[in-house]
């Protein structure tokens, strides 16, 4: 009789496990739809599809996937807030120190090339090596308002126009 009870318990456990696993997928998708429902309407379909796929590709089991979704569920208002924000136009440099990059890109500020820069001209090209120093004479900003290029005057009086800021960053 004891053995029979054990067999029945095992059988029941296997059935419950199969039932739980079968329910996992729809529950996960329902939760994802709940999270997406809190987003602005125009973003819901996109994030639903994106998160369905992400969730499917999580390599571990249903508990890991559930935790992944719960993390989203708890922070759904942050996602919604980020999506509701108007598109921002520029990187606003906050309270920078004197060592900060804001002063790196000011007119008449000294600047050093942190990488070799090749200026292509109509018939030739000229290279300015790493460590070349100069003074900023003009600052160019991109469509987003951030500094993208600068004009530089070298110590010999030569001007280098529209150098991408990438060449001055570490």
């Amino acid at each position: 009789v004891k053995a029979l009870v054990w067999v029945l318990v095992l059988l029941l456990a296997v059935l419950i496990e199969a039932e739980v696993i079968a329910w996992c997928h729809p529950v996960q998708r329902w939760l994802i739809r709940r999270v997406a429902a809190s987003l602005p309407r125009q973003h819901r379909d996109r994030y639903t599809e994106e998160w369905y796929r992400e969730c499917e590709e999580i390599p571990n089991g249903p508990v890991t996937r559930l935790l992944w979704i719960l993390s989203l569920l708890f922070r759904r208002r942050s996602v919604a807030r980020a999506l509701r924000q108007p598109r921002t136009l520029a990187f606003r440099r906050s309270s920078l120190t004197a060592e900060g990059p804001e002063l790196l890109f000011r007119t008449d500020g000294s600047i050093v090339f942190t990488g070799a820069y090749v200026e292509h001209r109509s018939l030739s090209k000229k290279m300015y090596g790493q460590g070349t120093q100069g003074v900023i004479t003009n600052i160019h900003t991109g469509p987003l308002g951030g500094v993208t290029h600068v004009d530089v005057r070298l110590p010999n009086g030569e001007f280098v126009r529209e150098v991408p800021v990438d060449y001055f960053l570490a």
Partner: protein, 111 residues
């Protein structure tokens, strides 16, 4: 850029994205690389995409039915801005290290 604070999760995210600025990353890959939870990564991705630092698109090349994977990539302005942000964070860290911190004097009265 209203409201974007240089938090540790943001800096981790930018660091990962800048490791290969031309590469496409998808959400779970970013989570693995940064060690951040989904509830932290997605608000940041949404914020950065809204600011024009990131662009995203569907992976339509995969021959798999069902939901598609969404890829994220830094834009040209995003690369420059992310580098500036990391430089700013580093300069703040250096400044904090060099000035040290004020600590309360324990032990009370000096006689």
């Amino acid at each position: 850029m209203e409201g974007l604070r240089l938090t540790t999760p943001l800096l981790k995210l930018l660091h990962v994205l800048l490791a290969d600025p031309t590469a496409n990353y998808w959400g779970f890959e970013i989570m693995k690389a940064t060690g951040l939870a989904s509830g932290t990564v997605y608000p940041l991705l949404a914020r950065l995409e809204g600011m024009g630092w990131l662009e995203s698109g569907w992976d339509d090349e995969q021959d798999i039915s069902g939901p598609r994977r969404r890829y994220y990539r830094l834009t040209g302005d995003g690369v420059a801005s992310a580098r500036i942000a990391l430089a700013e964070a580093n300069s703040k860290k250096r400044l904090a290290t060099s000035t040290g911190r004020l600590r309360p004097a324990f032990g009370g009265n000096h006689r």
